[in-house]
Symmetry: C2
Subunit: 192 residues, 2 copies
Amino acid sequence: MSVQERKERERAGRERLIVATARELAEQQGWDAVTTRRLAERIEYSQPVLYSHFRGKREIIGAVALEGAAEMATAVRGAAAGANGARDRVAALARAYLDFAERNPAVYDAMFQLDGGLAFAHEDTPAPLKDAFAALLENLAEVAGDGVHPALFTELFWAALHGLATLTRAGRLPPEDTERRLELLVDRLAVV
Amino acid sequence: MSVQERKERERAGRERLIVATARELAEQQGWDAVTTRRLAERIEYSQPVLYSHFRGKREIIGAVALEGAAEMATAVRGAAAGANGARDRVAALARAYLDFAERNPAVYDAMFQLDGGLAFAHEDTPAPLKDAFAALLENLAEVAGDGVHPALFTELFWAALHGLATLTRAGRLPPEDTERRLELLVDRLAVV
DNA sequence: CTCGATTGTCTAGCAGTGCTAGGGTCGCCG
DNA sequence: CGGCGACCCTAGCACTGCTAGACAATCGAG
């Protein structure tokens, strides 16, 4: 049994290595540079090894996305927990979200921009994604306003953040006004 | 001179054909299906002809994006012109925007999701893009609220629309609540 | 009307992509 | 210690964006 367990451990370790390497490579040189050949070379295995862990490149992106979702959830919760009052909590949440997107562009792409083969808004949505949404929801529900469904409000707030994050990073919005846009967003959307 | 003019006309016509075909193919089967080979075959020329009109695939995407920007500008202006009162005007604008994104997913991708090699928020931003932003701005300025810079407000409103459009189309947001999210967005962001 | 030059187009090919079939080599278990 | 099974790598497929060089059609000059 011990042999099998060791192999299992090694396999799991290598899988983590693949995901971590893909993420690192993507952050360094962009997802276009993450080819199966380069990735295989970096982990010092041949290409087919990748396919014994993942169905294809898409699944690797998906794995990075799940990792990112978990991190984003904790980042959001941490920021919200360190703030006092509903208004500050929401502002801190928004800042944490945009900060995460800016500091982990490749991971953010994996989550929302690229096709990681992940299901959303369904029964079989992976847990980390549901949890990331929950992290937003649990801090935004109190400012949704009377008669407004908290989930619907969260979806809208999330969409606004997502729009700001992507448009800013793509150079569509001047970066220097990010904070002002964020303040405006919170002031308008959140019902204190 | 007439000979050169005819050639010039034929060249321009073929360029329009390339862009139209790329757009059509993208709408039918997605941008992944728009390969230089397939595109060349559809216009009944060989691949190198494409490169005598555009520097590469990226520029073709950019051309589709510019075409789309012009159409979106007129769609937004048309919708806004047909509405009475500031609140209705903003709602109509938002509806037109999301409608455009939903009905022309490939064009919307070319504009905001893919790399069309276009400059944004700079001096040398192509006119159609600036004009599309202007179409939003001229209808949103009146609801920006006191002391809020109209351009900044427009950027925020645009980002929210963009987030709704992309997340909905990617299956991240349930489509059936689109209208309710839109109403909420207008009610909260716009100062009537 | 003919001939050279120029313009335009095509065929063929490059390097690189994601992915997979097949053979070999290793380490484990009886 | 022998045979077997799991594992991994080499080699290759069909495809991508893009380009060099050959070829043909067209034009302007004599």
